[in-house]
């Protein structure tokens, strides 16, 4: 098989793994307003932890590039938010502001997959021997991201199956970006810190503009703080071992 096809198929496996994040929601039923707040807090912790990891990795390649990418990521999400505000969208049982929030989460997580795809491709370029290890690592690392997406979708009465489908869809840029990144390693390696900064900026602004304010409206402050800080620590620990 052509090496590029190997990278593509491995990338697809990592994307499919994201769908596993929906599995816990097959067992718990949560649709109350408070459940939405808790889910938002958990998603915030996961996304903040992921961005801390991305920034730490990105700044190793270049601080200014990472920050530059982050500024573009913040601007991109704010522009998308304005754009979505002009349309009346619907998602599950959510309408208006709620539906906009869900759509934004999907946009953010999909945008962040582009950067991850580049990271996978560049890593593969370092030699095929470690390919299986890298794929397993990224695949497992994708599960909490699917969890973050499902945590936002499920309380809006989106079915577990659709949660899994949206999670996988958000990771499809991974195989798509991994192949060109693998084929043109040199070029993409330079772009890596920008991409990581972009993904981190997009996730951080999503947390502070949409997820946390909504969480505070429906749940007590200590609970929100507890969920965010514990999931952040768990996410950082998780990434550190993969």
């Amino acid at each position: 098989m052509h090496p590029a096809l190997v990278v593509l198929s491995y990338g697809l496996i990592t994307a499919l793994a994201t769908g596993l994040g929906a599995v816990p929601f097959a067992f718990v039923r949560m649709v109350s307003a408070r459940a939405v707040a808790y889910a938002n807090a958990v998603a915030s912790g996961l996304m903040l932890g992921a961005s801390f990891g991305l920034v730490a990795e990105g700044t190793r390649h270049g601080s200014w590039q990472t920050i530059g990418g982050a500024i573009v990521g913040v601007a991109f999400i704010l522009a998308t938010q304005r754009f979505l505000g002009r349309y009346d969208i619907q998602f599950g049982t959510a309408r208006g502001a709620g539906a906009r929030r869900v759509t934004l989460v999907l946009v953010v997580m999909t945008a962040h997959s582009f950067a991850e795809g580049v990271a996978v491709g560049v890593a593969f370029g370092g030699g095929m021997t470690l390919a299986a290890v890298i794929t397993a690592a990224i695949a497992v690392h994708n599960i909490p991201e699917g969890l973050a997406i499902s945590a936002v979708l499920r309380p809006r009465n989106v079915s577990v199956f659709r949660c899994a489908a949206w999670s996988i869809a958000s990771s499809l840029p991974q195989p798509l970006m991994a192949v060109p990144a693998f084929l043109f390693v040199e070029t993409f390696a330079t772009a890596l810190p920008y991409g990581m900064g972009f993904a981190a900026g997009a996730m951080v602004v999503m947390v502070f503009v949409e997820l946390l304010p909504e969480a505070y409206e429906q749940a007590r402050k200590p609970t929100v703080a507890l969920l965010v800080s514990v999931t952040l620590v768990a996410m950082v620990l998780f990434q550190q071992y993969l």
Partner: protein
Amino acid sequence: MDPTLTVLLFSSVAAGSASLGALPLVLRERLPIAWIGWANAVAAGLMLGAAYALLVAGLDLMPVWGATGALLGIAFVYWTHAVSGTADLELNRLEETSPEYGYKVLLVNALHSAAEGIAIGVAMVESLSFGIFMALAIAVHNVPEGTVLCAILKSRGVRLADAAGLAVATNVSQVLLAVAAFAVLTAAPSAVTWVLGFGVGALVYLVVFELLPESYRQAGSTSIALVTIAAMGIVVLLSG
């Protein structure tokens, strides 16, 4: 200079800078409520940046120990708020005048600065330059925090000079814990990873619990997010 004196000096600078928070109130009798929100957002962003810097310092050490320390830090702050009855305290009641509210606000500020003191102390053990960076980041963070405290105290009829003094007084625990953490960790370096984690957990919890929630009710969520991220980005850039 003896390292312990360096820790004492810079943590004192951090505590003392809280008094600068009174300055905006010299210029304006009563601050617009949105300013209080932005002040909280600046403080939140700087604190998150500080947590990030501690996290990066501990990342290559023993992650499981660091994470255990972080859970202890979170549990510590959660517990102190719960048992002191401050878990639902709102730091934006300019009209509330009950004595109980005033004392609770001072108490929350004092508890909060304890975690910051530990963060400064452990950073100083990592390296004096990292510690000084951390102390200065906390010092700048203390200014907007002092502004919020002084605004609350002034609306309760406390003289501005006294309010500035109280802002510094609530930060005395910062100096004490910075020096104590530095002394203990210099003697027992194997505990550094735990304490780095403790600092990360406690700071992140405090940001989400204390600094961010009210700010959203005082200013729009987009401006709060941008101010927080900008403050955090500056600390991240300078720490890297």
